[in-house]
Each structure stands twice: as structure tokens, then as C-alpha cells.
Amino acid sequence: MNDPSPPSPKTPCGGNCSCSGGSANASPPPGDDGSTRRAVLKGLGATLGVAAYAKALAPLTELTKETSMDEFLQKHYKELSKDEIATVITRLTQEAKEQYGADVTISDPKPQEGVKFGYALNLSICNGCRKCAEACHLENNHDRPSHQSYIRVFEMTKGSMDFEKGNVHYDHPVPQPDKYYMPVQCQQCEHPPCVDVCPVEATWKEKDGIVVVDYNWCIGCRYCEAACPYHARRFNWQKPQIPAAEINPDQSYLSNRIRPQGVMEKCTFCLHRTRNGRLPACLEACPTGARVFGDLNDPASEVRYVLENKRVFVLKEELGLKPQFFYFFDE
């Protein structure tokens, strides 16, 4: 820049140091002594600095047990061959034994050809007992202290469908006369925004309509959790804690196996059960028969009967995500 003032004697260097910019006549102590002292101080500083860095980052080294090299290098679920998935499952089984003391069986059931799952829930008879949420908690090996579940049951005020007037923390005998109850879980959208936003394709929609997560591929950015309009996704804020005796040993890779810390999880319509011809745990636990599950492609299925004969609606239809979870009322 065009600066009219003459160069200040103070620049570029005060001369109190031994830097190359210092003028020759600057410091009284002989150059050698000064620079030796300086070098010693610098060496000391560097050593202390390195030690401080090592100490600060030491907690990372305690992780090596949990994240093996095999885990680190594991490929995306869809890219694993049959043999590779078998190896991975063996490793996961061992980890469950080592870390939780539980003998588990991890399967990898595939979607059945031509099947598309749908779920319907009868709001006229749901009584808000939360047995479904409890069954989900146990079936899916959820973290015990946080009492996690994929299902949240809202106590709604009759005359309104606004969740703002709903309450999830009710603590009194049910059902209350002026209330109705609305359990909410993953709606298994036809156009799932959670899948769109995932930067690493760690979550996708399977052929039978179930949106799944590869817990070993998810990076834990929680973008899907921000994108989901149904509060259906959960994050493992820490390593799940479950006593060995309470662990459900009947597990699958894409559903209820014990999740690692720092990854997303969600309702999978209990695919380890439903892909083998059983019903979801939440349905089996329901004492009122409010829950109806089945194959949307099968004209004879109960869920199809509901869709064709009841007054059915889906949550937040205006968002255009086409949920495969339906709510209905009796005539």
C-alpha cells in the first residue's frame, strides 16, 4: 500500500529476539548464548507440548477394544458377500459374548418375494396401556436406563388431532373418558426423507417396505433424525446397557442386535420376526387387538381388509411421504 510514513524502526522486528529479521546491532548478549538458551527453551516447550497433546487425546486409545480393525474396515451391508456377512456375524456374536456376557444368535433374514408390509392401528380401541412400547423395549434390546422404545404413546384430547394438545408423559389409570390414545412409531414411508438425507447411504428402504439402518456403516451425523417428521429415529448417545439375563438372544443384523455407541436406530417392524412369518412384538403385546399387521400385496390379508373397509388416515399426509402405517376408527 502507498504509505507515506517512513518505515518505522520497530518493524519488522523489535530486535529483542534472535530471529533472522532482527538487526545486527540489536541484542547485547552474544548471539551464540542467546540462541542456545532460546533453542533449549524451544525444545522444552515442544516436548511439553507433545506431552500435553498425548495426554489430552489419551482417552481415544481406550477405545481400541470396541473398534477392532475388522470393524473399521467393514464394508457396507449391501456390498458384503455371503461369506463376508457370515464372518461379520461371527464377530458380532463374539462381541455380544465379550461385552455383554450373552449368547446370542444373529441371523440375516431377507425380504420375502412379493411381500410389502403394512401396519394399521385402531384408535377406537387403543387404551393407552403402553404395553406395545414396553414390548418393543424388551424385544429390540434397547438401552435399559433410558427406557428407550421405538414407540411413543400420546394421550390425545377428544375433539382434536393436534399433537400440541397431546401428552406423552401421562401417569394415571387408562383409558381416561375424555381422551383417546395414539401410539406413534416409524411410519415406514414410501418416500422416506431420512433415507434421502443420509450422506453415506447407511439407511435405505428394503423391498418389503421396511426402512433399515446398517449400524456398522452409520457415521452418526443425525441428519436423518432431523429430517424425520414422525420422531421415529433414535440415536445411541452411549453404549446401550442391558443385563445379560435380559438380552433377547433372537437377533438379526438389520434389526434388534445390540447397537454400537454413536449410531442411529429405528423401528424395523421386527423384521427378524415378521420376515419369518411371525408378528411384531408390539402387536403380540397389545391386549386390545388394536394393532393389525400384514402384507399389503395380499388381497386376503387383514390389513387390506382394514384399508378397504374402515375410515383410515395417515399422519401428516400433507407432507407427501406416503406412510405405510395407517390409523383407523371403527364404524
Partner: protein, 438 residues
């Protein structure tokens, strides 16, 4: 045979890349030299950074449960800072546009201050994202080619591309210009001007894409507004220049040289407009929210006035509003150009005000009430504050070193001493004008 034997070694020109490496090494090793004030400043920053690094290491080991985030408020202080810093990086372009598009000579001389800010801010914003990941060890899953890159559907992959691209462009421009000055050569326009023009477009893109991350989500009405990207840009063009105005003065004070008076005046002129645009957009958002009403207003109600007895964010946002309005009033004073105290107060208030507005005031309310209208509040935990402070400290360290390199080169304290070059008349001119910083 005998001919080749007599070719003297020094005559063989040193390849450009080796020259560049030598330049980079000299630049770095000299940048960490300094007086006691410099060492105190850097030691302080290192200490804060280490506190943050340790907090992060513990967070990776023990889990994100150490943060105050939850399944209801799943993004917090980290993503708030990330958003703001992308804006700060984009804001650096407000020096580039006057310098290169309007040929503002004074700005041209010191435009690198803004480009270096972009580099530091991008590094910080990427670090904030990494600290927000539950599994940073799986970072490679995001790398195109190596992992699975969900492009173009996921806006986050767009953000990865534009942020890294912006970083690369600015590193290239700064690296080239400093290297040329180091070698006392005139920069060749066609070597860097295309990158400069690209960086202008790119700066707009980084903040637009970052806004698209949020505003494309139909399930979050608070974000789901087309005004978000323009709002982001307007506020970025306040926070960037505000920071640079203060930075120029600090460099002047440290080097004892007066420069950049005209540049500051230009930047003040820019801020006077952008801060009003920014405020106007906030006002029109508030109008739409509250005049329309309905349950989609829940987030705005919670943010500005509290909802059903929950008002964690109310002090934050009113601090921001008051700071911004006071900054507007100060910037509008004609005497702001003559009174550094007024100017710096205005810059500081605008900077902090927008840090809140774009951060805590922008990210958190989208989650409160939740998509199913539950209210779970959020107040950052100590771990989050430590990591945040650590990243800011690192950012200041990087910016300090980058500025030192620049000052060393511009003051010719750091110069090419290999002697293996010829000085052309052009180069002599470039050296003589002393250009820019000092």
C-alpha cells in the same frame, strides 16, 4: 559425453514444486517465531485447544451422552457454530468482490486477509461437523470413491463438496499469491484470476447449500422457508466484514503500519446495507410466523417468548436482537468512520448478535417443540462448551499463523534467498511498491 559432463549443477533450474515446498517450509517455520507476546498468545490458545481436544477424546470414548443433546434436540451447539462459521467463510468474499470486480485498489492490496479468514473458518466449520459425529472413526464412509457418497440426493454430500472446494480454491489463491511475492515475481493473472472469480460464485454456494441442508426438510416448519438461504447470505455479509474490520486494525496495531483505511470504509459501507437486509428478513419471518399463527408458530413462540413455561432460548435471542439493533444504530452514525471505539463496538455487537441468531437462534428452535410437539429443552453441556472453545482457539491459531506468514512475506522479512532467479523490471516494481500489508 564430455559435453554433458561440463554442465554445471547450479545451472539446472530447480523445479517449481521444490521451490514451492521450500517456500511452504520457510513460511511455516518463520511463522512460529515471534516475540514474547506472540508466544503467550499462542500458548494460551494451545491450552484452550487442548482442553477442547481432551473433551472431544472423552466424548468419542464415552459417547455423545456427554452433550446436552437428545433424541428431541438432536443438533446443538456444534451445528450452530458450524452454520455460523460457514457464513464467516463466505463473508470473506465481501473483500474479494470490491477488490476484483470493482477494482478497488486499496482493497486489492489486502484482500488476502479475507481469503485467509475463509481458510481458517472452513477448517473450523469442518471440525465442528466432525465433533458432532457419533462415529468419527467412520469418516471415510463419506469419501467419494472409498465409501458411499449419497450424491446428489443428500444435501450433506453437496456441502462436503462445496466446503472442501472453497477451502481448496482459497488455499490455491493465497498460496500462489504469497509464493509469487516470496519469489519477488509478479503474479500471472491467468494463473489466479479464474480462481478468484470462481471463489466469488463458490462463496455464495457454500452458504446457499448450507441453508438448503435445513430448509429442504418438510418436517421442520421453522426451517422450511425459502427465505433461509438469502437470510444466511445477508448475515454472512455482516459477520465476515465485521470480523475483517477488526482484524485489519489488530494487524495495524501489531505491525505499527497504517493501511487499509479505504478498505475499512468500503467494508463499513457494505455492512450498513447487509445488516439492514438481514434485519429486514428477520422481521418478515417474524411477521409471517406470528400473523399466520397456528401450531407451526410453536418454534418461533418458543424462541422469542417461551412456550408453555419453557423459555431457555429467550435470553439468547433477545441478546441477539438488542446487539444487532445497537450495531445498526452505531453503523449508521457518520462518525463510525472516525471513531475506532464506536466502529469496533459495532463490529463486535454485530458479530456476537449474528453468532447467536445464526447459531442457537437458528438451529435449536427447529427442534422445540419436536415434530410431535413435545417440548424438551436444551442447554449446552460443559463438554460442548469446551469443544467449542477448543475449535475457536484452533481457528485463531491458524488465522494468526496465516497472517504472520503474509506479513513476513509482505515486509520482505521472508524472501527467497536462493539467488537462482533473475529479477525482471516488473518484479522489481512489485518489490518496490511494497504492496499492501506493511
Amino acid at each position: 559425453m564430455s559435453d554433458s559432463a561440463v554442465i554445471p549443477v547450479p545451472a539446472k533450474p530447480v523445479p517449481e514444486w521444490r521451490q514451492y515446498l521450500r517456500f511452504a517450509w520457510n513460511a511455516f517455520s518463520q511463522s512460529v517465531e515471534g516475540g514474547w507476546k506472540f508466544y503467550v498468545w499462542m500458548t494460551l490458545l494451545t491450552a484452550v485447544f487442548l482442553v477442547g481436544a481432551n473433551a472431544w477424546a472423552v466424548q468419542v470414548r464415552d459417547g455423545m451422552a456427554l452433550t446436552a443433546m437428545s433424541d428431541h434436540v438432536s443438533w446443538g451447539l456444534y451445528i450452530a457454530n458450524f452454520t455460523f462459521l460457514v457464513g464467516l467463510a463466505a463473508g470473506g468474499v465481501m473483500m474479494v468482490i470490491p477488490a476484483y470486480l470493482y477494482h478497488d485498489e486499496q482493497m486489492h492490496d489486502i484482500v488476502i486477509i479475507g481469503e485467509l479468514l475463509a481458510i481458517a473458518a472452513i477448517i473450523m466449520s469442518i471440525m465442528f461437523v466432525v465433533c458432532d459425529l457419533g462415529r468419527p472413526d467412520r469418516f471415510w464412509h463419506m469419501m467419494p470413491g472409498l465409501g458411499k457418497f449419497n450424491f446428489p440426493v443428500s444435501m450433506l454430500t453437496w456441502d462436503v463438496i462445496v466446503l472442501n472446494g472453497y477451502f481448496a480454491i482459497n488455499v490455491y489463491i493465497c498460496g500462489y499469491l504469497l509464493y509469487k511475492r516470496f519469489r519477488a515475481q509478479q503474479p500471472v493473472a491467468k494463473m489466479y484470476m479464474p480462481a478468484v472469480f470462481l471463489s466469488i460464485v463458490w462463496a455464495i454456494s457454500i452458504h446457499t447449500v448450507t441453508a438448503f441442508l435445513y430448509c429442504g426438510l418438510g418436517g421442520r416448519p421453522f426451517w422450511n422457508t425459502a427465505l433461509l438461504a438469502p437470510r444466511f447470505l445477508a448475515s454472512a455479509f455482516v459477520s465476515g466484514p465485521a470480523f475483517i474490520i477488526v482484524a485489519i486494525q489488530i494487524i495495524r496495531w501489531q505491525t505499527g503500519r497504517m493501511f487499509g483505511e479505504g478498505a475499512i470504509r468500503t467494508l463499513v459501507g457494505i455492512v450498513r446495507i447487509t445488516i439492514l437486509i438481514s434485519l429486514l428478513m428477520v422481521v418478515s419471518e417474524i411477521f409471517v410466523e406470528f400473523y399466520t399463527g397456528g401450531s407451526h408458530t410453536g418454534a418461533a413462540k418458543y424462541l422469542y417468548f417461551g412456550l408453555h413455561g419453557h423459555h431457555e432460548l429467550v435470553p439468547w435471542i433477545w441478546t441477539s436482537i438488542v446487539f444487532t439493533i445497537v450495531a445498526v444504530v452505531l453503523f449508521m452514525q457518520p462518525k463510525v468512520n472516525r471513531r475506532p471505539v464506536l466502529l469496533n463496538t459495532a463490529c463486535l455487537l454485530a458479530f456476537v448478535g449474528l453468532w447467536i441468531e445464526k447459531g442457537m437462534g437458528m438451529i435449536i428452535p427447529a427442534f422445540i417443540p419436536s415434530t410431535l410437539h413435545e417440548i424438551v429443552e436444551y442447554r449446552p453441556s460443559l463438554t460442548e462448551w469446551k469443544i467449542t472453545a477448543g475449535i475457536w482457539a484452533l481457528g485463531f491459531m491458524i488465522y494468526t499463523l496465516l497472517l504472520k506468514i503474509t506479513i513476513n512475506i509482505h515486509s520482505r522479512k521472508l524472501k527467497d534467498t536462493s539467488g537462482a532467479r533473475t529479477v525482471t523490471p516488473d518484479d522489481a516494481l512489485a518489490m518496490a511498491d511494497g504492496g499492501g500489508l506493511v
